[in-house]
């Protein structure tokens, strides 16, 4: 594994498009959820039918879900287009294989890496094992799961591909899983932002905005 190249323009642009989209998806997702903050398992669920979880959130019947859904889909499209460009470029350039594909022993090394220790700005020139596992999980598992469970709620999409919802156990199960995976992504975001802050916020931000090496003095 070579030294990590400066973040390419494509990685930087798609990173910030996705960061913005993620925030919009989160806010609009909450707006949609507040129209009916109950989760179910199976095909159906409604007030008067048994729920799986009653979220301790207010039920706002008077219309936050309209703009919520419009913003949700607009930002989902931005996320899918930017994410698709990132994936395509990542596969073609070998970035995904070199930097993201977990190496053998990463689990053990990641555990060691996560022991309380303040990472430094010039700590490593490549993604460390914990980063590799986390980024890999987000790109290969969580985001696709988000798209899948989202599509599984669409009656038009499932008329084309019924298995999308059938294998998940029903439309309401898909909705519940969409919520659960969203929670996992929020946890990732919290960890990601915390690590950036701990390892030198300004230097890391400069690296992702301008593409310059994240090293203070001796950088490339």
């Amino acid at each position: 594994m070579g030294v990590l190249e400066p973040h390419s323009a494509l990685v930087r642009v798609t990173h910030w498009v996705n960061a913005l989209s993620f925030c919009a998806l989160l806010v609009s997702g909450i707006a949609i959820l507040l129209a009916h903050p109950r989760l179910y398992w199976g095909e159906t669920g409604a007030l008067g039918a048994p729920s799986l979880i009653d979220l301790p959130l207010p039920l706002l019947l008077k219309g936050q879900s309209g703009w919520g859904r419009s913003l949700h889909f607009l930002s989902a499209w931005a996320c899918v287009i930017a994410g698709g460009a990132y994936l395509l470029a990542g596969v073609l350039s070998g970035h995904l294989r070199r930097e993201l594909l977990p190496a053998r022993g990463d689990w053990r090394r990641a555990a060691a890496h996560l022991r309380p220790r303040r990472p430094a700005a010039d700590d490593d020139l490549e993604y460390n094992p914990a980063q590799r596992l986390a980024y890999f999980a987000v790109v290969i598992l969580l985001v696709p799961a988000m798209i899948w469970t989202g599509l599984a709620m669409s009656p038009a999409v499932t008329s084309v591909a019924p298995f999308l919802v059938n294998v998940l156990g029903g439309q309401q199960s898909a909705r519940t899983m969409h919520f659960a995976v969203a929670c996992a992504l929020v946890l990732f975001l919290a960890g990601h932002v915390a690590m950036v802050a701990l390892s030198g916020f300004r230097v890391r931000m400069r690296g992702m905005i301008t593409g310059r090496r994240a090293l203070g003095a001796g950088g490339a």
């Binding site: 159906t44 039918a49 309209g66 859904r69 499209w77 008329s159 019924p162 439309q171 309401q172």
Partner: protein
């Protein structure tokens, strides 16, 4: 420094991109892939979703159907039947004087009584309906295919949308892909009984591949049109001005 070559390449790419977008927009308009609420802040998202769904469903697949054993015990409704005098009078007389008007771009503008609709070929399906709020239920719907009614009235080839006028304010419209879809019913029965008032008596639309609010209740008139631009506020239904999407295949 930006080199001349870089400047030329970037310029050419931008021109190619812009003309590509313009060509895509013209093609999309020609093939009916642009929804009436394509403008505004969220228009790009609405258009991408609608166009993607229409391309994916060109072969008109059926929404999933279920077993009778899966019919939900609870089938809630949002709001009650219209409280206007005209509707209440019809309801009291069990819709004996009610007629469904069919007009617009049809060769034979016609109207159907409830009994006449019930004599047309009967179709049923057990399908899932989700409210935009997030809850859902499965029910059996019985009625006559909207395509059957449109064919009897002699739908004009120029027609591209069908506008649905109910007794309440929630008028809406659907494109021909949904209007002619075999599962799209003008439904007069639910779970083996006549359609309850709260679920849209005497008849409601049932569009199986969109959210519940597109399945217009308390129908009174169906109008075939070529464009939605001069219907109401031009956005295709009452939904967009209230903040909801015209297309709700999600």
């Amino acid at each position: 420094m930006i080199s001349r070559r870089r400047l030329i390449t970037t310029g050419l790419t931008a021109v190619a991109g812009a003309s590509g977008l313009a060509a895509a927009a013209r093609l999309a308009a020609h093939y009916g892939l642009i929804p009436p609420d394509h403008g505004g802040l969220y228009g790009a998202g609405e258009t991408l979703t609608y166009a993607a769904h229409r391309l994916l469903t060109l072969h008109q697949p059926l929404a999933r159907e279920f077993d009778r054993s899966q019919i939900s015990r609870v089938a809630p409704v949002n709001g009650g039947p219209p409280d206007g005098d005209d509707y209440q009078r019809l309801l009291r007389r069990n819709f004996a004087e009610w007629r469904l008007e069919v007009d617009g771009l049809v060769a034979r503008p016609s109207s159907f009584s409830l009994a006449e609709l019930q004599r047309l070929p009967r179709r049923s399906h057990i399908t899932h309906q989700a409210c935009e709020e997030g809850w859902s239920f499965i029910a059996e719907w019985t009625g006559v295919a909207l395509s059957e009614i449109l064919t009897r009235a002699g739908l004009n080839r120029r027609a591209k949308f069908v506008v649905l006028y109910p007794f309440d304010d929630f008028w809406d419209s659907i494109d021909l892909a949904d209007a002619l879809h075999p599962q799209t019913l003008v439904a007069y029965g639910m779970n083996g009984r006549e359609l309850p008032a709260g679920h849209g008596a005497p008849v409601r639309l049932r569009v199986t591949r969109q959210l519940g609010y597109k399945s217009v209740k308390y129908l009174s008139r169906i109008t075939a049109v070529e464009t939605l631009a001069d219907v109401g506020d031009g956005l295709g239904s009452g939904a967009p001005s209230a903040g909801y999407s015209w297309y709700a295949g999600i």
